[in-house]
Every structure is written in C-alpha cells, then in structure tokens.
Symmetry: C2
Subunit: 327 residues, 2 copies
C-alpha cells in the first residue's frame, strides 16, 4: 500500500502539507495542492472509497429511508433506487424506519457519520432533519421541498372511484390511509370529486396506518362498522387483500356481494383469486427516477426544481364487477 | 472541526507522526501512538465513521447480499439483519443480487471499496469471492464454511410430506426448488423419506428458479404436466400461491380437488383465501442471529465454529384437507 510519506516525497512537500491537503484543512498553497494531487493520482493513493471520502468530505454512499420494508411496495421502490444509484457509482445505506421517529433520527445520525452524499426518503415524517443535506423525497410532495418523485394520487383516486361508480355500487365505503400521509388526502380528494359529480353517497373509514401487521384487524373492524358495504375503495393493496379475505370469511362473494379496488398494484395483487383490481403506481420507476434526480443534484451541484409526477394506471381485475352496459 | 495540527500540538508530536499513527503505516513509537490516541480522544478528532474507518482500516458498515428483494421472504431477513447490526452500532450496505453473478461481483467490489467490516449473504452463489473477509451465510449450509444460520430444511421437508400423507392424497407431485440451492435438496430428501416410509408414489416437478416473475408461468406448466395432481408439495410460498391461483382458474376446488402446502410462511400466506398451509421458516430470526454472529466475529476476533440451525414450524391452514380420522 502506498503511504502518505511516499506521496509527500513524490510531491516534494512535507507530510504535514499532504495531510492538510487531504483533510482540506489549514493552509496549502495552490502550487503545493496541485503537486499533492498529481502525486496522489500517480501513486493511486486513494484506492478506496473511505480515503476518497475523507478527502472530498463526501462518500459514494446514499442513504435510503423506507417506512416499512415488509410492505411489498417498498422493496420495489428500493430496487429502483438501487439500480439507479449503482449505475452512477453510488451504493445504498439502508434505513428501515418503521413509522418510528426515533429510528429515523438514529439513521440520519448514522448517515451523517458515514459522510453520505445524500438521502432518498420515502418516509412520511418530518423533513426538517434532512434540510442540511441533498435529498429527494419519494412518494410524496411537499410545497417547501424542491426535489421529489411521486405518482399522481389525485388522478389515481379519481380512477378508483370511477371504476366503482360505473359498476353498480349500492353502499360505497372509502377506506382512507393515515391522515398524516399527504398522498392519502390527495387520493381521497380524487375519490370525492368523482362521487360528488355522480351525486353518490359514501361513507369514510379512517385507518391509522399502512402497516402490514394491522391489516387483518383493520379489515375486521371495517366490516363490523359497515356490515352492508358492497363497494370498497381501499387505502392500499395490502389492506384491500385483508378486506377481501375478511369478506370471503364472512361468506360474501367477490365481486357479486362485495367489490373491491386497491391501490399500488403490488406483485401479489395479480396473484390473488379473484385478482385484485387496483391503481398501479410505478414503484420501481419512482425509485429509479428519484435516484437519478439525486445523482444529478450531487454531480451537477445545481438542478432546477424538480417535482416529478408519474402517471398511474387503472388495472381492472376480477375483484370488481362487470361494467354497467350503459356506461 | 478539529484539525490534525491541533492533535499534533496536544500530543506533542509532529503532524507526520499523527498521520502515520492514523494511517497505521510506517513507524510510530508506542509512546507516541499513546499520546496521539489520547489527544484524538480528548479533541474528539474522529467525529465520523469515515475517519475512524481509515484509522482502523475497517468501517462500521456491513454488506448484505440478497438474492431477490421482491420475494417477501427476503425483506423479513433484511429486517432481522438490520435490527441485529444496528443494535451493535453497524449499518447495512444493501446488495440486491437477483441471481446475477456479475452483479454479485460488483457488489463485493463496492463493499471492499467501502472498507466494510464483513458480509452477510443469503445468496446461493459461489462463496470463493467472500473468503478474504469475515462473513456469515444465511439460509444455507456449506461444509467448508464455518459461520452460517439456516433453518432445518430436512425436518421441514418431512413435516410438509407428513401433512400431505395424513390427508388422503391420491396423486402427489413434489415441486422442487432450483437444483443449485442446497436447501431444495434437503427439503426434497425430507419429503422422500416420509413418502417412502409410507410406500406412496409421487412425481417430481423440477423448477429452475424461486423468482417471483416466473411463478405464474411455472404454475401453468405444472398443471399442464400433471393435470390430475391432487396434492402439491410446493417449493416455496410464492410458487404455492401461483399454483393455488392456477388450480382455481382451472375450476378445481381447494382443498377438495387440490390440496397444497407451501414453504416459508411469508406474511401474505395467511392472508390468502383459503389460507396457505406451509412450513414456517423464522426469516426475521435467521437474519437477526446472522447479524449477531457476524458482530461477535468482528468484535471478539475469534468465535467458535457456528452453524446455527433454527427449527421450523408446521402451519396448517385451509389449503389442505381435514386430517384423516384414523391418523
């Protein structure tokens, strides 16, 4: 291994000067810095990222914050982010936050200690702690945040409601995602716009979480609260699948007695029987585009404000009834 | 920020000496090294992991290699690994290999460049490339590898076969996982032991992958090859769910016409309707114990050979028939 002494010798400067140049601290003349840099290059003194990182004050690591890796939507996002950052020579430090504010803070500390170059966050928490580093938000939009990638939740909410409206609904219940999640509000607004336009009544069932572990008990509460529901607009696919199972357990046929539309289009949704109708979010694409955006920010230093909105797609499957002939 | 010069001043040595001590290169007297170390501590010169890593030649990063993050079994393993390493002050560098040998090599290169302390791998590839760093294998066992955590595949295979044997099987087909995966062979051996003991005939359907994307077409081929199958021992839960859907699509009732047992117990398996009977692997525990083992190796330097085998649990759900009364 090349030592700092060899670098100093070749550069014709003292070890202390090399140290100052590498640490970017203290005075180093421009001439000496150039000598050090060319010696460093010639001797290949930075064979590894750690040394390079110390030199440049930034590593080739990007921190990824996910809310719940057990929800199959997020591994797809992670896959997109990973492919995106790898292509640009960065690697991912994983942070699985699990709706835990303390855990999120711990990860940000760890990220800082590792001199990460930037953060990609799909977590719905406070973003104040992120303000001192380059970051991109995924799956949400904030008016005070310039860089984000999300899908079109309002249109998605409209699509889901339209799919139900055109399929002879009798008692509609909207299962709404957690209040603190901006995308839940946007989807609800889209739902309501369509239902209002059609002058249809509906009920709202508020959930407090997207967490996998709570899906089954939430589905039970849902049917206890609305036993006569016949059309469900669910908050996401995990909860939609739990609602489907609970309906079938209660002896109700899908879609004849209860029709359901989800949100996300997880890989499993098409493997259900009946297959789950849903609004497909481009999860991989959200991750990939977010990675690309962050790398642009890191490499170009300045990027125009980018709030990238990706389109969603309606996936009609057997969990909703046949469309009314007159529509 | 503290500079190397301040450290040198407090330690009463030259900057070059501090550099040598920090880089662990060249001669530094024991006395000088102690002075540098206490100055470093006093001035808190290593506020970040990168500097610390350069000093100790190792970072607080652990590389995690996963075969396919879209298979819900692996996010659970990742969650266990993450909790385990976080508790000991390490963080995870994510490597999602996707059955791609080149990608695996690229990740190992990235890991090395980041001075990772060690690797945890759930990938079924060659382990030669890992030999020069501390590593723990998950979900498999190798006779020449001293540190691994896996579950008891042979007993799991026996349990799955026994569950079928005691439920009036007429035509049994074993769907076997990829040949290169050691756990597939162990499960098959367990299946065969039980079927032989009961003198029952069976067919074997060989799959080439555990990949999510191939599950549905594999399930089609499966029924095309064995149209009269009435009892399926599936290679894993993802493939079992695809088989269930294909059976229902072909108008066969579950479990009356076709009964199915899976392997893994993914979170989704219990949310199916009918619920998928399966062999539960402790995915989170496998990850967590693997993380603990690697941290022990890193911190203690020497750990006794540990091939940790965790028990599996039979989960009977509605995808298999009621047990024979006479069993």
């Amino acid at each position: 291994m090349t030592t700092i002494k060899e670098v100093a010798k070749l550069a014709g400067v003292s070890v202390a000067t090399v140290s100052r140049a590498l640490n970017n601290s203290g005075y180093v003349s421009e001439e000496a810095r150039k000598k050090v840099e060319s010696a460093v290059k010639e001797l290949n003194f930075y064979p590894n990222e750690v040394a390079r990182s110390l030199y440049q004050k930034k590593s080739k690591l990007i921190g990824l914050l996910l809310p719940d890796i057990a929800n199959p939507f997020f591994p797809l996002i992670a896959k997109g982010v990973e492919d995106g950052v790898n292509q640009r020579g960065y690697s991912l430090l994983l942070g699985n936050v699990e709706d835990d504010l303390e855990k999120e803070k711990d990860y940000l500390k760890i990220f800082a200690q590792n001199n990460i170059a930037g953060v990609i966050s799909a977590v719905q928490g406070d973003i104040k702690d992120l303000q001192n580093m380059p970051f991109v938000l995924l799956d949400r939009v904030e008016s005070d945040q310039n860089f984000s990638v999300h899908s079109d939740d309002y249109t998605g909410g409209m699509m889901a409601a339209e799919a139900i409206v055109s399929r002879d609904p009798k008692e509609i219940v909207i299962m709404v995602g957690p209040k603190e999640v901006p995308s839940s509000a946007a989807r609800l607004a889209g739902n309501q716009k369509v239902l209002k336009d059609h002058q249809l009544d509906y009920q709202i069932f508020q959930t407090s979480s997207f967490k996998f572990e709570l899906a089954e008990q939430t589905a039970e509460q849902f049917f206890d609260t609305y036993p006569n529901v016949d059309s469900v607009i669910a908050s996401n696919d995990v909860y939609a699948i739990a609602v489907m199972k609970e309906a079938l357990k209660r002896g109700r046929r899908i879609p004849e007695d209860v029709q359901i539309i989800g949100y996300d289009d997880m890989p499993f949704s098409r493997m259900m029987y009946p297959g789950l109708a849903t609004i497909a979010q481009p999860a991989y694409e959200i991750g990939y585009r977010g990675a690309k955006l962050l790398c642009d920010i890191l490499e170009k230093g300045f990027v125009e404000v980018s709030r990238i909105q990706l389109p969603v797609i309606l996936k009609i499957r057997e969990s909703v009834r046949k469309k009314d002939e007159d529509e």
